[in-house]
Amino acid sequence: TRRQRSRGGFWCVNLFSCAQNSELFTLTYGALVTQLCKDYENDDDVNKQLDKMGYNIGVRLIEDFLARSNVGRCHDFRETADVIAKIAFKMYLGITPSITNWSPGGDEFSLILENNPLVDFVELPDNHSTLIYSNLLCGVLRGALEMVQMAVDVKFVQDTLKGDSVTEIRMKFIRRIEDNLPAGEE
């Protein structure tokens, strides 16, 4: 199993890559989204809530990630992209998206996900055509990076749930967060 193959340091974190647990994870996420749809009645509000919840997860998850993966500070956006795709996504979702479509200035890139564990078995009904089902992920990325002093904009530009061939997340570097820098980082 994936858990056996993953390195010793990542004990208990590869919950989502373990075959038995991914069903529960997919079902839990689905229950969350459908409840939000009932509570908020319009897709835009649900999208915002998912982003907010993702943000609250991200600000906590970053510490778990740093504590377990031991990666050092990234000094440019390319390093950041690598760490996100090859270490973070692997660790928490068991997938390794590919990094493409770099902007000429090196401040924007896309993550292409061949498969998305959150949407296993999901079909978007017609009355929810503007719902960004996996928007939680955008919030997670935004929150996590904010805690390491990077302000980014994250959004889905392609979604297999909407008929696209792949799921594409676009990440844009906005600025370095200069206030409250930890000592030694100035």
């Binding site: 906590r60 970053i62 504590a67």
Partner: protein, 219 residues
């Protein structure tokens, strides 16, 4: 007990967790008749021994209790000034408990926030660019080890100078924090950590680190 204390400081420099892991040294309680053969003087908010040592009472020890009742800073339990009380012959014989003053939680808060500021000086003084802050502070009785995460949280461990394995312990404390504090949805970020599981697991980690002792893997 070779690991003395653990401090966790949030990004703003506020102390959010503190644990003392050493057995406090015994206090000394003795009965005295007038006049006292120790010289006492006020210091900050306490009354301390300025001169005279006997039977385990040392210079610098504070008056902790009089006649069994704990003193409140410079005043007895019933509000009288301690030095006045002790200089009145009518009050002798009197039983006084002396001991090393333990830091109050306010004092710890202040010291932690002071260290937070000092930590930055380490990187400012450095001749090299991009230096870290203060990672270790050494005195003759203890070493203070500090680890700052990329997110700005500091974990500090005060230990015996000969204790090894503190770097690994600091990383372990970071893991325990990310598990039992952060994964607890009822814990708010940057606030004081009041999670039972965090306490328990931290104490366990300290015991494991102590057992490894000075003969364990190098720090």
């Amino acid at each position: 007990m070779a690991i003395f204390s653990v401090y966790v400081v949030n990004k703003a420099g506020g102390l959010i967790y503190q644990l003392d892991h050493y057995a406090p040294r015994a206090d000394t309680e003795k009965t005295f008749s007038f006049p006292l053969d120790l010289v006492l003087r006020p210091h900050d908010e306490r009354v301390v021994v300025a001169f005279g040592q006997r039977d385990g009472i040392r210079v610098g020890h504070a008056v902790l209790a009089i006649n069994g009742a704990e003193v409140n800073g410079r005043f007895t339990a019933d509000g009288k000034d301690v030095l006045e009380y002790l200089s009145n012959p009518a009050n002798s014989p009197v039983s006084i408990r002396f001991g090393r003053h333990r830091l109050s939680s306010n004092e710890k808060l202040m010291l932690a926030s002071m260290f937070h500021s000092l930590f930055a000086i380490g990187s400012q003084l450095s001749p090299e660019v991009g230096s870290s802050g203060i990672e270790m502070l050494e005195t003759d009785t203890f070493k203070l080890h500090c680890f700052q995460t990329l997110t700005g949280i500091k974990f500090m461990v005060l230990a015996d100078p000969r204790q090894t394995g503190i770097d690994a312990l600091l990383r372990k404390i970071y893991e325990i924090y990310s598990d039992f504090a952060l994964k607890n949805p009822f814990y708010s970020l940057e606030m004081p950590i009041r999670c039972e599981l965090f306490d328990q697991n931290l104490k366990l980690a300290l015991e494991v680190a102590e057992k490894a002792g000075p003969f364990g893997p190098g720090s």
